[in-house]
Amino acid sequence: MTVIVTDRGFADDDWVEGAALDLPTSTDPETLRGQLAGVTMVRVQFPSFADGRGFTLARQIRRMGYVGRLRATGPLIADQYAMARRAGFDEVEIPPDLAVRQPEPQWLARANWQAHDYQSRLRA
């Protein structure tokens, strides 16, 4: 089973409330305008940790006013957790073998993503 990573560490997936909007990282954010009303879960599916489009996609989804749950799904690495949170994701969903290779402490090490953040200073 996949593992959900949040600032509190690892957890099982608690999402049960029906349909989520699943988006590949190739999604043009302009096609989402007007499509997010009533959506409570958006999952952005990273095909590889090296595909950084999902971070910009998350920013654009937040810029459109989406306030529901936003999840990055795929083989992201623990070192990207802070980037995902800063870009607007609430949580990261990783495959089980990755959770074994990069256990919970490696992710919790970046739960301090609000610290040492140039962007929040520049946008104050």
């Binding site: 980037m83 490696q106 610290a115 040492h116 962007q119 946008r123 104050a124």
Partner: protein, 557 residues
């Protein structure tokens, strides 16, 4: 000079400890080699031909003496006693051990320096006019803006896994010494009709295998909109840039394929969104940064000693004529220290030489040092009264070569002597050309001529924009050097034109000599520079000389 505040200081130290953990996690298997690779690259660590290479940022080319001393210390403690200044205002150490790298990064942090985003698919070290803050032709010192961009681009959460690298250059002067038209984004300070300062934003320039001169994306961007506009450009490209082919992923290709109008439309739309997110914090930080770059207290002093030394010492006069540039303050000069003694490796400097330069900067140069993309070292604020003493000290250290802007002031990439990507050697060709023209005694007579050498198609040696460009390739296992002519790296930037077949390693210096001798015979006056003669006459007479064609045959065509 910018000095880290508590936030910057804590940031770089946190980053070093993160990297130390990443190295440990690579060794214990938590990180695969594929996963570790971008992490080490975004911390400046390459795996090269023989060893790791650490590329340290010299942000916008500015250093103080304490920082240069720290680079000397690193070179001796963890490397082979020297460093290599690059065409992007970085310094490279070619022989570090992986296990030592976190300690090296900590030593950098101790001096207010870092190696962050000097590599990888990130926004790279922002480069700037190396005469910034000193040049007589400047509208405004661009370095506060460059520092603002450094802070914004550092660890930017959206832009750590871009389609490819992204390079920004900035200049505050109309004479472009920062090659802004060959960068992903070039920023040229301009004034609007009311005299307000802003930037002409140039996008999609670049060298490499598909050389392109950048196009104007915005003719006038108010300075206050700099960060939201840059964010809009990189955000649009992060989604639109190609990820299927790394040779087509740079923004120059995106601009080429979508067209400048479509890119502009998308950027302006995104800009409306990004601008709303900047509420003045960036401008408060910019104002604070600006206070660090207040000009030194320039003092009026007599220049009689300088004039006397010029009259008495022809070697000093030659150095002064070649290596000085006009300073904005009365009685001052900008001094360029050449790393290109004839036969030396362009861009290399020993730890001992670094300490000499640091001492001289402290004694005579208001504690400021610059590194140029032309791989030289600059003391931007020296009073002419101090030049005779400075010259003697430089000569003692082997640093008084009077060749800035001349044929032996060659840009050369590390080439196959160091680089894993290279297809041919660059450094020996540069050394042989410099030595040849020194022996011929023609260098001063030839005058301004920029030769730039790259050891592969990636063009780190900027050969496309050299008056004479040399590109080293591998032809069936044999080094072969192709020559381009008429390139220009300045505000009138053009890509040089290819000539015909290339030359073997033992033929290329003779070929360059034939080109130069043709120029000497063709120029109208001694003051007509090589590139001016080339523009006046076109390629034909140079090609005749290069390929030793009978001129009569050409005349009969």
């Amino acid at each position: 000079m910018y000095h880290y505040n508590d936030f910057d200081e804590a940031f770089v130290r946190e980053r070093v400890s993160q990297f130390r953990e990443q190295v440990a996690r690579r060794l214990d298997g938590s990180l695969s080699e594929d996963e570790f690779r971008p992490l080490r690259l975004m911390n400046g660590l390459y795996l090269q031909l023989h060893a790791y290479m650490l590329r340290v940022a010299i942000p916008y080319g500015t250093l103080n003496s304490a920082q240069l001393r720290q680079l000397a210390y690193i070179a001796e403690r963890w490397d082979k006693g020297y460093g290599h200044f690059t065409t992007r205002q970085n310094i490279q150490f070619n022989w570090p051990q992986l296990a030592d790298v976190p300690d090296i990064l900590l030593a950098l942090a101790d001096a207010g320096m870092h190696a962050i985003q000097t590599s990888g698919n990130t926004i790279r070290n922002v480069t700037a006019d190396h005469f910034a803050g000193a040049a007589a032709d400047e509208i405004e010192d661009p370095r506060p803006y460059a520092e603002l961009i450094r802070q914004w681009s550092t660890d930017h959460p959206e832009f750590q896994f871009l389609p490819r690298k992204f390079k920004i250059a900035i200049t505050g002067a109309p004479n472009d010494r920062a090659v802004t038209k060959a960068h992903d984004i070039g920023l040229r300070m301009v004034r609007d009709a009311n005299g307000a300062h802003g930037f002409e934003v140039i996008v999609g320039g670049g060298l490499g295998r598909t050389p392109m001169i950048g196009k104007v994306l915005r003719a006038f961007l108010p300075t206050a909109d700099l960060l939201p506009y840059l964010e809009a450009v990189v955000s649009v490209w992060n989604l639109a840039g190609r990820r299927d082919n790394k040779y087509k992923s740079r923004i120059k290709i995106t601009v080429h394929e979508l067209g400048i109008e479509e890119i502009s439309r998308q950027v302006e739309a995104r800009f409306l969104e990004t601008r709303a997110e900047f509420k003045g914090g960036d401008q408060a930080i910019l104002a604070e940064i600006g206070s660090h770059f207040a000009p030194p207290a320039f003092a009026p002093r007599s220049t009689a000693a300088y004039e006397a030394a010029r009259s008495a010492n022809p070697a000093f006069r030659s150095f002064a004529d070649t290596n000085l540039a006009a300073h904005r303050a009365q009685g001052y000069a900008i001094v360029t220290i050449s790393t290109k003694a004839h036969g030396a490796t362009p861009g290399d400097m020993t730890a001992a030489q670094m300490r000499v330069v640091a001492d001289l900067a402290l004694a005579y140069g208001h504690d400021e040092i610059r590194i140029s993309h032309e791989q030289n070292v600059i003391l931007p604020h020296v009073h002419k009264a101090d030049l005779p003493a400075l010259y003697l000290a430089l000569r003692e250290a082997g640093l008084a070569t009077a060749n800035v802007g001349l044929i032996s002031d060659i840009i050369a990439c590390p080439g196959m002597d160091y680089c894993a990507l290279a297809t041919a050697r660059s450094i020996p060709i540069a050394q042989e050309i410099a030595t040849r023209f020194d022996e011929l005694g023609l260098e001063q007579d030839i005058g301004a001529l920029k030769i730039k050498i790259s050891g592969c198609i990636n063009a780190c040696g900027h050969h496309h924009v050299g008056h004479i460009g040399i590109l080293g390739l591998d032809r069936a296992g044999v080094e072969n050097y192709q020559i381009t002519l008429g390139g220009d790296a300045t505000e009138t930037a053009v890509i040089g034109e290819k000539t015909g077949p290339g030359f073997a390693a033992d033929e290329v210096v003779d070929a360059i000599e034939r080109l130069v001798r043709a120029y000497l015979a063709l120029r109208l006056t001694d003051d007509e520079a090589f590139v001016a003669t080339y523009r006046r006459l076109g390629a034909a007479p140079f090609l005749d000389a290069l390929y030793q064609r009978e001129v009569q045959i050409h005349a009969a065509e």
